[in-house]
């Protein structure tokens, strides 16, 4: 109640400001979230300022809108209040939600020349899976990521493992994990083998396990899930077994935010987390570390993640054109390289990786290439209509299994039934 009143007040204030601002030439308002630490917000501001300096006919108001969740909430509220931003970076997985709310328009209307179409093809196909539906492009990849495995080379050496070799399969991860898990005299674990964080949105890293086992969690139309697929059950059982049967991972829900810190402190010898943490780990790990693709079961695999640019309805033709131009500029090699180096997000276009800046960076720090190479095996992040609600149900099921309240099969069967109920009206 209080919150809704507050949001209305915020929307009203924003409205006043925008009316005042739209007295000038082409104005763009652009919301962006920051999900990782470091210099993300500064870099976006810097890039926007640089663009405005080069293009005096455009003014861009880049608004930091909080987390991904906050940003989508703000964009929807502002749109309902009749004051949508022209552009926003929002989770690629929220595409169906935004279509369902009738808030966004495809980029295709503004990408008509052959050159533009070629530009669109320059993005990695794994990133476009979450950006296109029904033959239209609704999202342009920008701050995209994918999970990778980080390992502590010194801990590997101390456990008698080859410090240069990461586990390549599920079995190896368990086997290495057992060697890496260390206990003190009273039997308390001082170093865990592996850490797969599961607080908040466990579905994302779990999806890595599911894809590796050959399962796809949702169809491309976003209206059917496969949560009770036996392969998904098997993947969840493996995740649960890591802490209960093999005892190589801490039991219970594992916090996302504390994961890099736990890695630095030597609490865990391996961790799964986003490439968005790469720069953070590079700056702060007090030991040599390696970065590898996630281990395979039936195949290699990982979900993609992160945010896309969306074009909101309600803007003038002129604004839309200016917005598309800005998106093309900020995803161009030079800017994209700057962004990737500052954060660790995966540059979404092959040409960026061929630029001299990126080549020099990769030569110095080859770990950045792992995420790019993994894209070949990556699949779309779980995304459906009413995405937050459906993934919410799935998250609850995963949490129930991880904390031992339900067995994997029951939890997933229940989640599938609930998701069916929601999604059946979208078919």
């Amino acid at each position: 109640m209080l919150k809704s009143t507050f949001l209305k007040a915020v929307a009203a204030t924003a409205l006043t400001f925008s009316t005042w601002a739209s007295a000038q030439a082409v104005d763009l308002q652009f919301y962006f979230p920051v999900a990782v630490g470091g210099k993300a917000a500064e870099t976006i501001q810097e890039l926007t300022d640089a663009y405005v300096a080069q293009n005096p006919d455009v003014t861009i108001d880049a608004v930091y809108a909080g987390s991904y969740q906050d940003t989508v909430a703000k964009a929807i509220t502002a749109s309902r209040g009749g004051n949508p931003p022209q552009l926003s970076v929002i989770l690629s997985a929220d595409m169906f939600t935004l279509i369902d709310e009738d808030l966004i328009q495809p980029f295709d209307d503004y990408l008509t020349s052959d050159e533009d179409k070629k530009w669109l093809e320059g993005f990695y196909p794994a990133f476009m899976e979450n950006s296109q539906t029904g033959g239209k492009t609704y999202g342009i990849p920008f701050q995209r990521s994918t999970p990778v495995l980080y390992w502590n080379k010194e801990a590997f050496e101390a456990a008698g493992l080859d410090p240069e070799v990461a586990p390549a399969t599920w079995d190896e991860m368990v086997e290495f994990g057992k060697k890496l898990t260390r206990k003190d005299d009273s039997g308390n674990v001082t170093q865990w083998g592996v850490r797969i964080p599961s607080s908040g949105f466990p579905y994302w890293l779990f999806q890595g396990l599911a894809i590796e086992n050959g399962a796809i969690l949702a169809n491309a139309e976003g209206n059917k899930t496969n949560f009770d697929d036996p392969k998904v059950v098997e993947a969840l059982q493996y995740m649960v077994d890591l802490s209960t049967k093999y005892e190589v991972m801490a039991p219970g829900i594992i916090e996302w935010g504390a994961t890099p810190k736990a890695f630095f402190e030597g609490q865990t010898a391996m961790m799964w987390t986003s490439t968005g943490n790469l720069t953070n780990v590079r700056d702060n790990a007090p030991f040599k570390f390696g970065v590898a693709m996630l281990p395979e079961k039936a195949q290699r695999g990982a979900p993609t993640g992160g945010g896309n640019f969306y074009l909101f309805k309600g803007a003038s033709d002129e604004q839309n054109k200016a917005a598309v131009k800005f998106v093309q500029w900020i995803t161009a090699p030079e800017q994209s390289a700057k962004w990737t180096i500052a954060t660790g997000y995966v540059a979404p276009r092959a040409e960026t990786w061929d630029s001299d800046t990126m080549k020099a960076y990769a030569a110095d720090f080859p770990a950045v290439l792992v995420a790019r190479d993994q894209l070949e095996f990556a699949k779309a992040e779980l995304a459906t209509y009413q995405n937050q609600r459906v993934t919410g149900i799935f998250n609850d099921a995963l949490a129930a299994a991880i904390t031992g309240q339900k067995d994997a099969e029951t939890a997933l069967k229940e989640a599938q039934a609930q998701a069916e109920e929601i999604l059946s009206e979208y078919r």
Binding site: S4, D100, N188, V189, T403
Partner: protein, 296 residues
């Protein structure tokens, strides 16, 4: 004639004085409350599908929703966990800093500090305290008793209790201020008279101080009850309602439904449930307890 005019002028004057407050009260309390109530009888509008009247369907869904019952039960547990503990602690702390002791202002300030800090900041501090392995709690229990690493926030049996501890810590200092003010209003003569009659410290407290504090206790309890439904900011930071809704409270669930799942109509229904619940509690407290509060 003249008298009528003066009356009318008074009347206009009165309303004009009331107007600013009323505008805000209506704009931010009454109108949203009525809109919420009306929305609860409609389906959620989506961009492509406008809202339609669906009668009591949202309420039926609420009664069938296992998460609703779970968060309601959590809320009851949360209220029982936080209210007596924070009020009791507040009285003890107030008695303690009301006495003459060295560094009294410093102790008072220390007790009040949690109240001044924003809840979000507090939650981030406690997130570190609770961190498994290298968090403060684990470092202390590990060094003193050799306990293994804990995972209070990641375990459905302890997550809510961990949140209750944070809330009590946060609230007790705030309530202490009210008790401190009330204690200073109690005439010392009463205590001295009792001591002359040979009453011990406990009798003085139980027979004199505590009954005279009752109006404050009522006020504090009303606030504590409201807070137990209102304070959810720290949950976003500490557990995000997890694991599997083990630490989600009613208001948190309302936020989740309305602004994450964008099911605003169902969110409105849950809000009506919360409003009804709070009204009942407030009415109950004032009408049934008010009579017993004042010492005669």
């Amino acid at each position: 004639m003249k008298r009528g005019f003066a009356l009318k002028r008074d009347w206009i004057h009165g309303w004009l004085l009331l107007l600013p407050a009323m505008v805000f009260l209506f704009a931010f309390t009454h109108i949203p409350a009525v809109t919420t109530f009306l929305n609860s009888f409609f389906s959620t509008p989506r961009g492509r599908r406008p809202a339609k009247f669906i009668g009591l369907s949202n309420y039926e869904r609420m009664l069938d929703d296992p998460v609703f019952w779970k968060v309601l039960w959590n809320n009851v547990w949360f209220a029982f966990g936080t209210i007596p503990a924070s009020v009791g602690l507040a009285i003890v702390m107030a008695l303690w800093v009301n006495d003459r002791l060295a560094g009294r202002s410093f102790v008072r300030m220390a007790y009040f500090t949690p109240t001044v800090l924003p809840l979000i900041a507090v939650a981030n501090i406690w997130l570190f305290f609770y961190t498994p392995g290298f968090g403060l709690v684990d470092q202390i229990t590990g060094a003193l008793f050799g306990w293994p690493a804990s995972n209070y926030l990641g375990n459905p049996d302890t997550a809510l209790n961990a949140i209750i501890v944070v809330t009590v810590w946060k609230e007790a200092g705030f309530f202490m201020i009210f008790y401190l003010a009330a204690l200073q209003a109690i005439p010392v003569t009463l205590k001295e008279a009792a001591q002359i009659e040979g009453a011990g410290r406990w009798t003085v407290f139980w027979r004199i101080t505590f009954p005279l504090l009752m109006p404050t206790t009522l006020f504090v309890c009303v606030n504590a009850v409201i807070n137990s439904f209102r304070l959810v900011d720290h949950i976003f930071i500490l557990t995000d309602g997890g694991p599997d809704n083990a630490s989600a409270l009613l208001l948190f669930y309302i936020y989740e439904v309305a602004f994450r799942f964008w099911e605003t109509a169902y969110g409105a229904t849950l809000t009506v449930a919360l409003l009804v619940l709070l009204s009942l509690l407030a009415i109950g407290q004032f009408f049934f307890f008010d009579r017993k509060v004042h010492y005669k």
